[in-house]
Symmetry: C2
Subunit: 154 residues, 2 copies
């Protein structure tokens, strides 16, 4: 398969019917649960917790590429990503964090903060869709609460 | 295979014998060629040009995770990445740019700015090692020169 048809992609890039504009702020959506609103973004915990603490940080408005942001917004977004990374690091002690901005299906700037652990192969190509570990409601709530506490303003 | 042995990883994270500290600034190394030095980083063009314009932006000092940077340095790094993205976008007209920070083998902050084109499948997991398209010296030089011109200070 090739890329999206050109007209369709122009629409997607511009934000028409953008699925992330529709659900990035919701307490729960099919992909993730809201941890907290940050300065320029929504921090969300992925439903698939194959990698414990896997989060997504979603810009709070539609834009497709980093170079479309003005300097303050760009800095704010990455400050939010780094704060989420620090929270995951403190809470789950991964060996490394990956920070992945793609958006082929939803060209709305968002960063997957994807932890690596001691059992993971450092030579394997990262795959955020790997495995399926959906936690029970209480366990997911515990992780949401723990990360929310760490992301509280000082 | 699991992650690096713990002692080895502690050393790698701390910058001991870091391969990127050793060669990020060189005109050429086995993985890439220097485009230009930016405010907080080195912008380099990958040797493997399977995705035309594929660049790597490497922090100009050793640090392993984004949350280890202070605010100004973090903002500077992402401003550099966005500038490189804009240059690739202007020069090669990809449909989308991916921005990937991993560092499992070299935990020294660097961002792969990896373009997607109309022939690419948006549903495929991104693989920066895909294919092998090594250009002749003149072609690689042309790309270096074009990107260098676009990254000149205004």
């Amino acid at each position: 398969m090739a890329w999206w048809p050109r007209d369709k992609w122009v629409e997607m890039r511009s934000g028409t019917d953008c699925p992330m504009c529709a659900d990035a702020h919701l307490p729960s959506n099919p992909a993730s649960d809201l941890i907290t609103k940050l300065s320029t973004s929504y921090a969300r915990l992925a439903r698939n917790q194959t990698a414990a603490g896997y989060c997504v940080v979603i810009l709070n408005r539609h834009a497709a590429e980093l170079h479309e942001l003005e300097a303050g917004e760009l800095a704010g977004f990455w400050s939010d990503v780094a704060r989420v990374g620090a929270a995951i690091h403190a809470e789950f002690s991964p060996v490394k964090l990956d920070y992945l901005v793609m958006g082929h299906r939803a060209p709305h700037i968002h960063c997957h903060v994807y932890p690596q652990y001691e059992d993971d192969d450092p030579f394997l190509n990262v795959d955020i869709s790997r495995g399926e570990s959906i936690l029970g409601g209480a366990e997911q709530e515990d992780r949401l609460r723990a990360l929310r506490n760490r992301l509280r303003p000082d």
